[in-house]
Amino acid sequence: MSVASVEVGTRIGELTVSLTRAQLVRYAGASTDFNPIHWSDRAATALGLDGVIAHGMLTMGTALRVVTDWVGDPGAVRRYSCRFTRPVVVPDDDDGVEVRCVGTVSAVNEDSVTVTIEVTCAGEKVLGAVTAEVSRGAMP
């Protein structure tokens, strides 16, 4: 995809990942977020959740791959924001839960492009207002 072909509405890519309990454990260690709602069904259900949920930052970090896979250089990302709308419940099985991320250009400025990412799980939005601004200098 060239710079010239980027315009509002251009779909830059999509990514479907399966989040498993094993990945939650790995992310807990890497991020040092050891909140038990991300590994203990007992702790999660005591707070009224349907079971262990993914770290919001894991889902947010995963969704940004749509943008960094597109630009190549992660250093091109200037700004990234989202709302944590709905928890992603991760079952205790080998398959985990599928999260789908679709990136679409939502603004084109002189020196940057803004991408809006739709992040869904079983057809429902789990993150809201997911936008990333990338420097145009690094566009593919």
Partner: protein
């Protein structure tokens, strides 16, 4: 007296200096399942959302402030924004300074906006991590 709008503007001392290592970057990228070559090799860049790990370390000061009387167990992370001045890289030693940006009290619910400014020991800004927390105060 718990947190009020009068606490807007309060900042806390810098967090302990954190040195970014290639091993920690590799661990974090693996936890995201992200094989971007920028995160590999001897002097990789950190994945953009690695900033969350350092930002969260600075939150401790907020929850440890007895005057605010906030409990981490009663907090929901509602939204998150990162603004990068440059990529976080292997060998960077950074500290974070947390400031309170916004407080809104609505009955038992308190909405608290904070920004952690991560900078090198020389004072070069690297990334600002802004978060909104919704805190539900226990009935007294």
């Amino acid at each position: 007296m718990p947190i009020t709008e009068n606490h807007v503007g309060r900042t806390y001392p810098p967090t302990e200096p954190y040195r970014v290592s290639a091993a920690k970057i590799a661990e974090f990228a693996a936890a995201l399942g992200d094989e971007n070559p920028a995160y590999a090799g001897e002097t990789p860049d950190a994945p953009p959302t690695f900033a969350a790990v350092l930002g969260a370390a600075a939150w401790d000061a907020l929850f440890a402030d007895p005057e605010l009387d906030l409990s981490l167990q009663r907090v929901v992370h509602a939204d998150q924004t990162f603004v990068w001045h440059r990529a976080l890289r292997t060998g960077d030693t950074v500290t974070g300074v947390l400031g309170i940006d916004k407080v809104r009290c609505r009955g038992a619910m308190e909405i608290v906006g904070v920004t952690v400014r991560l900078a090198t020991l020389d004072g070069e800004p690297v990334v600002d991590s802004s978060s909104t927390f919704v805190h539900t105060r226990a009935a007294s």
